[in-house]
Amino acid sequence: MIRVQRQDFDVGAELARLSQGNHAIGGVCSFVGLVRDFGGGDRPVVEMTLEHYPRLTEKALAEIEAEARSRWPLEETLIIHRYGELRPGERIVLVAAASAHRQAAFEACRFLIDWLKVKAPFWKQERTPEGSRWVEARTTDDESAAGWGKDGEGS
């Protein structure tokens, strides 16, 4: 399942819903991304604004999810990404993978967030006491995504 939304989400409720009624699931691996107070820079972040390209976001996330499901034996997957204004400590993203076995759950979950970071059209602007700055893409994210092979270098 994929959701892109302004409002916060309830991690416990989302994960419970993911495995609800499917007793073939032995494990659910999830990752929650949070706004840090010192993002990539040396000045404290007061607030962050996440902008995105809705039609492409929807498409990109659906492709990432489909790719994960084609690579691992998964029962369920979940991607929830927020946009809008977020403060340090707030949740940005939740990805999760549910499988009979934990190895598939872990690898798929890691894949979801790695690819999301280089393929989903979101941009972050950090507001600090000294002004705003656009967060630059990190080459380590490209490398993490490329580690999964095939088409993993981002766009």
């Binding site: 991304g33 390209y53 970071k117 059209p121 941009w123 656009w134 967060v135 893409a137």
Partner: protein
């Protein structure tokens, strides 16, 4: 043709989305960029370093030599930083 700008490209151009009718010389993304940059000011600045500009046409990532049609939706944006 619809053109979208995101993040600092939107800030520099001062435009989020516009309908344009480029001349016949605009046949692909590169010539579209040349034409847009020709407006000068923030448009020229936004495209001054193409190594940090990404392009999608009709919600597909494309290279700069991708051919364009009149009804296309062309989006310009920096490398993504979600998650």
């Amino acid at each position: 043709m619809k053109v979208l700008y995101f993040a600092w490209l939107r800030e520099k151009t001062g435009v989020g989305e516009e309908e344009v009718q480029p001349p016949a010389a605009v046949t692909d993304v590169r010539t579209l960029i040349d034409w847009i940059s020709g407006r000068g000011g923030g448009f020229a600045e936004a495209f001054s370093d193409l190594s940090v500009v990404r392009v999608a046409v009709n919600q597909e990532h494309v290279a700069i030599d991708h051919a364009l049609a009149p009804e296309d939706e062309v989006a310009f944006f920096p490398p993504v930083t979600g998650g």
